[in-house]
């Protein structure tokens, strides 16, 4: 026999052996067993880091699709009138349509501005004060909060279990005949991890597929200049445009809202809030944890001259010179901030109401 023939024989033998080995214990496999959901391959745009996804909640096609349906479904609120999307509107980078405070199902307004839902998979803690320790656990906060969806969680799960569609959808995504709270948390977290923005004009400029104007480039330099904007200490340049740390940015020296302190009870955490991402910042007015500023100019004015000194004021800001930016500097920085708007994100079909 020639080598070629030998090779072919050997290949056939290998195939037979493989099938035999594979089938050896087949009698143990239940043919009706749940085959499991289809993995979802998350596409990370160039310029953004790898996303850490918890091992107990891998993204799946079925899980992400289910999370998307739940995100838009008012079934999760007590009177079936509000969904996550009620206060997180895609057109506004998932903030509440320009509102300072959002109003819950009982007509009561909250005390903090709805956060943008962009690149959440890179964040470690959630809410303005980091009260939610992971994305899955964050999900149930707004559902139960009396000034938001005001639903009893057990009741929400009961409604899902007695719904015509959800039991089958949850079974496809997670297996099991009964919907559990963990499954609800996991599904919405999966969808939220897919909400990635990385195609703004700034990103295109970095990738070499777009140009920025002279003013925008000047603004980009000023943004990073420690004697001018000095923005990058907290709003890290590129990638997520936030360090996601908790900082006191001097909006107050006496705190109506103690922020991070409410969670940690550490005195030096008074008045600290999470650094928000500046991606799509032009779409997410008003600004700050309580939405006190309606324009980016007011924000720049605050960091230039308006911040208040206090023991927990961020160290970097506490040594920043007041009045270090000219009016032109601030205008240029705002021009740069506008390049962070990602219209493909706010128009992405994959995030719309299914």
């Amino acid at each position: 026999m020639s080598h070629k023939k030998l090779n072919i024989c050997f290949a056939i033998l290998t195939l037979i052996v493989s099938v035999t080995v594979f089938n050896a214990c087949k009698k143990d496999i239940d043919p009706n067993a749940y085959a499991g959901p289809t993995p979802y391959f998350l596409v990370i745009p160039t310029g953004l880091p790898k996303m850490d996804i918890p091992a107990n909640n891998s993204l799946t096609q079925e899980g992400v699709a289910l999370g998307r349906k739940l995100f838009y479904d008012p079934i999760l609120s007590a009177n079936r009138t509000m969904s996550c999307a009620s206060c997180h509107n895609q057109s506004y980078s998932f903030t509440d349509s320009g509102k300072r405070f959002s109003t819950g199902i009982d007509g009561i307004a909250g005390t903090r501005n709805a956060m943008n839902l962009v690149n959440l998979g890179y964040q470690k803690k959630f809410f303005w004060d980091g009260g939610a320790a992971d994305m899955e656990s964050q999900v149930i906060g707004p559902i139960q909060n009396p000034v938001e969806m005001h639903e009893n969680l057990a009741n929400a799960i009961h409604k899902l279990n007695t719904d015509l569609e959800y039991p089958a959808l949850f079974k496809k995504a997670f297996g099991g005949d009964t919907i559990t709270t963990s499954m609800l948390m996991k599904a919405i977290a999966q969808f939220e991890r897919t909400m990635i923005s990385g195609n703004s004009r700034y990103d295109q400029y970095v990738r070499g597929t777009a140009t920025l104007t002279a003013q925008e480039l000047r603004g980009m330099d000023l943004y990073q200049d420690p004697t001018k904007g000095d923005c990058t200490h907290c709003h890290s340049m590129g990638s997520t445009f936030s360090d996601f740390e908790f900082r006191n940015n001097g909006v107050d020296s006496i705190y109506a809202d103690p922020g991070r302190y409410k969670i940690t009870l550490i005195g030096s955490d008074s008045g600290k809030f999470k650094t928000p991402s500046l991606r799509n910042i032009a779409l997410t007015a008003p600004y700050m944890h309580d939405g006190r500023f309606s324009t980016l100019q007011q924000c720049l004015d605050h960091y230039n001259t308006g911040f208040h000194y206090s023991p927990s004021l961020d160290p970097v800001l506490s040594v920043s010179v007041k009045g270090r930016m000219t009016a032109q500097d601030m205008t240029d920085i705002i021009a740069f901030l506008n390049t962070l708007t990602d219209t493909s994100f706010i128009n992405n079909q994959a995030y719309k109401h299914p």
Binding site: H3, L6, N7, I8, F10, A11, L13, T14, L15, V17, T20, V21, A24, C25, N56, N57, F127, G131, A132, A133, D134, E136, S137, Q138, I140, G141, Q144, N145, P146, N152, L153, A154, A156, I157, T180, T181, S182, M185, K186, K262, I263, L265
Partner: protein, 271 residues
Amino acid sequence: MSIFTNMISQFNSISIRIKSAGIIAMCVLLTTVSCRYKERTLTVTPEPPYPQYGSLTVRLSNEAGGVPVAPGSGSYTNAAGNVYTVDMLKYYVSNFTLIKSDNTEHNFANYKLINAEDTSTCSFTLDSVANGNYKAIRFYLGVDSAHNHSLVNEGDLNASNGMVWTWSTGYIFFKHEGIFHNDTGGTSILLYHYGVDDNLKTVDIPVSEFEVSADRKVMYLKFDLNKLYGNPNVINFNGNGIHQSLDSKDRVWLGQMKANFSSAFIFDKVQ
């Protein structure tokens, strides 16, 4: 097929081929053997000569001044003289440890949500309790920090059990809701929600020595609200009836409660 052919065509030496065939033969052999082994173990499980373990069922009786608490009916009087009701009484006990007379400890990483309204929740069984003499028990009132920072849990730690904070990730360790007669002659709401890591309470209880000898024992414990609100710190509900956060106004109350939980759990008997 073409994949296999391509793959195999890389094997140019006959000796490699022989080795490969040998490996495959081994695989077939192992697979066959492993399946047979599984069948055999099913039939010849040896019985140990005498079981090394028994079990201990812990039954909690919820009381106020020695009187069983009936959520939704009845009223009770605490050490401060406040007449109060119990509409809801729920709490977590976890991480039970049994301590032998020789001071060796046996830990059961368990989590149990006690709901006074539903007696079926007021007992739980620790399986595989090693034979021997026991003199004390230890457990947490609450949920340890390893499980208190994510809510993706099932069973008694299911987030739908009404025992999670909405403003912060974590479990409410203890919840008592009701009303009390206030000092102005009316009634006020009593809303006591206790929790967060710093307030996890380790409860140590000496018990009258008992032996486990491959049998099923039942330990009776009491949880007494009047002890919780009276010993050593007397907690007066007036102007102090609502605690459900971590604000500075809650600090004193949290400290008093944490201290009092030690006396609130009382050993009754083992049978």
